[in-house]
Symmetry: C2
Subunit: 409 residues, 2 copies
């Protein structure tokens, strides 16, 4: 079987043109007018293909392909999200949703009778830019967050999610009458440089990193940079530098089992000739192993104490986000690897560094992900790019895995 690659590429472009703001930036934040326009386009395509479209209370869209023979059995679900960050690229999320739709169309066109229904999901607010938390739609869907609570989320522009979903026409009245999926497979761009740098076509995603986000605030004493001897300083900026260095070097030691980033820092008063009285920095630690993450968090806490004592500053840490690593389903991971090989694609097992709806779905059913290369690893950026050939390769792997999982009738 062959997916219609040309159609997939054309649709990605067409959806990518929906929600371009006055500055020419693609910005389809969750439950905005732009998001509505994107949703409407996806729903139109799904309905034109003859699929049934369901919307649940949190606004997740499910495009369902079922036959009288398989109706009522647990479906195989594909999908991702179509909301975007600010100034986004065309591929993040949309690729998994539109490839899923294309696969259903291929199977329908080929007249294959599957033992299970297929569902293509577009989850609400995966990016988490307009509403917190991210991956909200899938989190609510798997029962990890109460829908009523989620609908009370307030956007960065001061609107209630429930109100906004109602306004754009995507507030489903009930949970959709779908049995829990038998399996979930999400196709996504890598958003990192590994596949490209290894010359691989397919990333077989076996796990997803846990994330630990902290904000660290260091309080020292502001003083004149010229008149305060080095040994009488309580320099919050120097303490921040030591922490930045620790985060980076600790992660380096763990090699592929950890990444650590200080992406954001702020000094006060931030003047050339004043010793910083306060430094605020963020720490982003990720590991596919919970044990490593716990170790790194403990080591960082210890380092904060030791730096504070040594430099006469105080340091406090605040948790901004914390998720555990996710192990995907061995069986599905192995199938992905097999079908990639059968199609003649070079594949490698890989860890997802970013968060995805699949990590929520893994709580509900056997789940895995398929990655395709991201040029230069760039994502969340208009320069996000995956060559057509790679996009189509990924869709073929998804087609084969899903067909395999759904079984012939």
């Amino acid at each position: 079987m062959t997916v219609d690659g040309e159609r997939l590429v054309r649709r990605l472009k067409e959806l990518g043109a929906v929600g371009v703001d006055q500055d020419g930036r693609l910005t389809r934040l969750a439950a905005t007018d732009a998001d509505k326009a994107g949703r409407d386009l996806f729903v139109r395509w799904a309905k034109e293909a003859g699929l049934k479209v369901l919307v649940d209370r949190i606004g997740n869209i499910f495009a369902v392909y079922e036959t009288p023979e398989n109706s009522g059995t647990a479906p195989i679900m594909m999908g991702s999200h179509i909301d975007t960050v600010i100034d986004a690229g065309n591929f993040d999320g949309c690729y998994g949703v539109l490839a899923g739709l294309g696969i259903v169309e291929t199977i329908m066109a080929e007249g294959i009778h599957l033992a299970r229904p297929l569902v293509v999901a577009a989850f609400t607010n995966e990016e988490g830019v307009r509403f917190t938390p991210d991956m909200m739609g899938s989190l609510v869907y798997v029962g990890g967050m109460d829908a009523e609570v989620a609908l009370q989320a307030v956007s960065i522009d001061g609107k209630l999610l429930g109100y906004e979903l109602e306004r754009i026409g995507y507030a489903g009245k009930l949970d959709p009458e779908l049995p829990a999926p038998e399996a979930y497979v999400e196709l996504h761009i890598e958003q990192g440089p590994v596949l490209e740098s290894l010359g691989m076509q397919i990333g077989v995603v076996e796990d997803l990193q846990g994330i630990s986000w902290q904000r660290i605030t260091i309080d020292g004493v502001a003083n004149h940079a010229g008149t305060t001897p080095m040994d009488l300083r309580r320099d919050a900026g120097y303490a921040a530098a030591k922490i930045m260095e620790f985060v980076h070097e600790r992660a380096m030691e763990y090699n592929t089992e950890m990444v650590g980033t200080v992406g954001s820092v702020h000094f006060e008063p931030n003047a050339i000739n004043v010793i910083p009285s306060r430094a605020t920095l963020t720490v982003d630690l990720r590991s596919p192993k919970e044990e490593r993450l716990l170790e790194a968090e403990a080591a960082l806490a210890e380092e904060l104490t030791s730096i504070s004592n040594a430099l006469g500053v105080t340091a406090r840490s605040e948790i901004l986000a914390r998720t555990q690593p996710v192990q995907f389903c061995d069986d599905i991971v192995a199938r992905i690897e097999q079908v990639a090989e059968l199609r003649g694609f070079k594949s490698v097992r890989i860890t997802s560094g970013a968060g995805h709806d699949a990590q929520m779905m893994a709580r509900l059913c056997p789940t895995a992900m398929i990655f395709v290369p991201s040029a230069k690893g760039i994502s969340h950026n208009p320069d996000e790019y995956t060559p057509d050939r790679d996009l189509i390769n990924g869709a073929h792997v998804l087609l084969d895995v899903v067909t395999d999982l759904a079984g012939k009738h």
Copy 2:
């Protein structure tokens, strides 16, 4: 002889109440209405004391005490400045000017006949907050900058200095007909913690640090904090941390011969989950020894190259300011030390970490400075404080040194 300590303390308070803005902050920036009000008050006090007041083209005020016997001989000059930073304290600069005035009044009251005139100078725009460069009035006075050029300086609020001085009535038409001083002695608060921490009453300032200010810009590559392996990163933030650490630790090694500060830093895009593409930081290096400063600058340049090569980033540096260290006059320094001892004050030789008009005056005539303690080393802040006793002690040392330098008639 005894200075009128109560009057000195009262005048500092009175001048400190001039130029308080709507937010209750003392802000007497050079050549503003607030500065005019401060200048007017000083001029009124000087005239009430019977002094002749001269103003030169750059707005420096000279209150002159001369007698028929000593008129025309090179004077002994005291002074400092009365412009302030934003949200300033009462003592920085004003102390040296008002103590100088009080000393002239004491000598007049005592009926002492000096062999040389006394001059109390209030130099224009020492702080450099509203116009660049700082210490501008004294720099122009000693011939280090052309008055015409200085008068073209544009303020942070877009006004020409020449226009502003004209507007507030402090644009003197000619260079004042004063012979170059025989000596200059500036009394100032320390603005650092050394005297207080050592339990000393008087700082005998033997030299003044050279200052090297640089802005360093590091360019790396922005990438996803979760998906970019540590060894594929070009992290501008980590490079910045290494530089911050180097600046601090290099200065620590030199102990009292160097201070080094990174007071200001900025990351781009400055997001928790994005590896910084750019980091900008300032470096403030100071040393009383030019040789040390040159060494540290060279070591920093070398470090930038080595960090750039190691981390795959580029680093460039831009000089923001550079002054050479100043050695004050051995003879005056020794006299200060002697009179402090005769008065029974505990004194210590000290290096000025901050810039002062005295460093400009040292180009023109034998010069030195006297420091009194700053509580907790705080300056450029409303919490700037020196106990009355210390203020009066310093004035007595200045009185004795100036009387000594001027000689009896």
